[in-house]
């Protein structure tokens, strides 16, 4: 479709939108009793027009934030949003490569190793929304949980899906963050250092399972106590254990451990 045709089409949609609004308002003025029905119908038509408009394609952040001239591009600091966008595009390519080389285990894992740097790149970008940082933390935990395992096709696909969601909503609404968590939770272990620990109240837990990255313990007079935060916000576990009452064997292996609070 040529430039003129598309522009004309968009103008036609706009004019149709105004016509719908005019007709609906004429209807409601003429007969107030049909107001509700007219509003419902016109809203549906307007929604349909918008859907049709979106089918024509959305504007990419590159097109919106890219300076008009290449001279300006080199002199100006790029917009952070654009920077994130290009980072995602760059690392998304790693995932595409990994899928393309899936049968070549070494090439695939090399691409996935290179992909994992994305979480640290995001860390260096300032002024992002808290939700974006939370999504990045979840991604970090998901990748960390995969450290000693190879990636399957579904997991790479899930990471691609996560990047697509991030790319479409860099400001990151709560709903997008929840979708990202759901996808990652489905394909990876998001429990982080608590992965092998049962966190149910009054249940027994493996000390070795709790004491991982992000969790610190101190031993004072035979008592073990500690608190730590798993990778995901809202999963704080405070655990305490009376080591004096444990046998030497259980101290090193499995110890009855009361989780005093789970937030």
């Amino acid at each position: 479709m040529g430039i003129t045709n598309t522009t004309q089409l968009l103008e036609d949609i706009d004019s149709a939108r105004y016509k719908v609004i005019d007709i609906a308002s004429a209807f409601t003025t003429a007969s107030p009793e049909v107001r509700s029905a007219a509003e419902t119908v016109s809203t549906k038509i307007l929604d349909g027009l918008t859907t049709f408009e979106v089918m024509g394609g959305k504007l990419s952040p590159e097109s919106l934030y890219k300076p008009l001239s290449s001279e300006l591009e080199s002199s100006e600091k790029p917009s952070e949003l654009l920077k994130i966008h290009s980072l995602i595009n760059e690392y998304e390519q790693r995932l595409t490569n990994a899928l393309n080389y899936f049968d070549d285990e070494i090439a695939k894992e090399t691409e996935m190793t290179l992909f994992q740097r994305i979480v640290f790149e995001f860390d260096y970008i300032g002024s992002l929304s808290d939700n974006f940082y939370d999504a990045n933390t979840a991604l970090q935990v998901a990748l960390f949980s995969q450290n000693t395992k190879t990636f399957c096709r579904e997991q790479i696909g899930a990471l691609k899906e996560v990047l697509d969601l991030m790319k479409g909503d860099i400001k990151m609404f709560d709903t997008t963050l929840e979708k990202i968590w759901d996808i990652l939770r489905k394909h990876f272990s998001l429990a982080g250092p608590l992965a092998e620990t049962s966190c149910e109240k009054e249940s027994s837990a493996m000390i070795s399972g709790i004491s991982g990255a992000g969790v610190t313990y101190t031993i004072v007079s035979g008592n073990v106590s500690g608190a730590g935060t798993a990778g995901i916000p809202g999963h704080t576990v405070t655990a305490s254990c009376d080591m004096a009452s444990c046998t030497e064997e259980s101290r090193t292996k499995e110890t009855s451990n009361k989780v005093s609070s789970i937030e």
Binding site: T7, E53, K58, S63, L64, E76, S79, L81, G168, M172
Partner: protein, 133 residues
Amino acid sequence: MFFTRIGNRFVYTLKLDSKEEATELISKTGLFTIPDKKLAIFGDKVTNSQFKFTATKDDEIGYNINISHLSRKIDMQIPKCIKYDASAYTLEGLLIDIDYHPLKPFDVGNFRGNDLVKKNKKDMEYIIKGLWA
């Protein structure tokens, strides 16, 4: 979620002494020229010019550009005891009005107003500089 319409409009005015100065500046842009033969149909010189056009870039971004002579008056009814200084107000001059508007919908989650306005302001300065380059 997406915005179906976003954009912003920049209106610049350059203070000048007369309408003729504005006309001369507009003609110096080279965007607007009337061949003598065509002008002869109406008269022998252009004393007031204005041009307005819409340009699109890659079928994604649109610019409505309006360059014209500006003539305004201050007509205020205020109590005598209040003094005012309107020396900075442009009564006579050149108007450059550029309306920037993307032609496609844009994701709400990727929209940062301050980034867009900052970038557009630089773009406008580049465009205006280019008019007389």
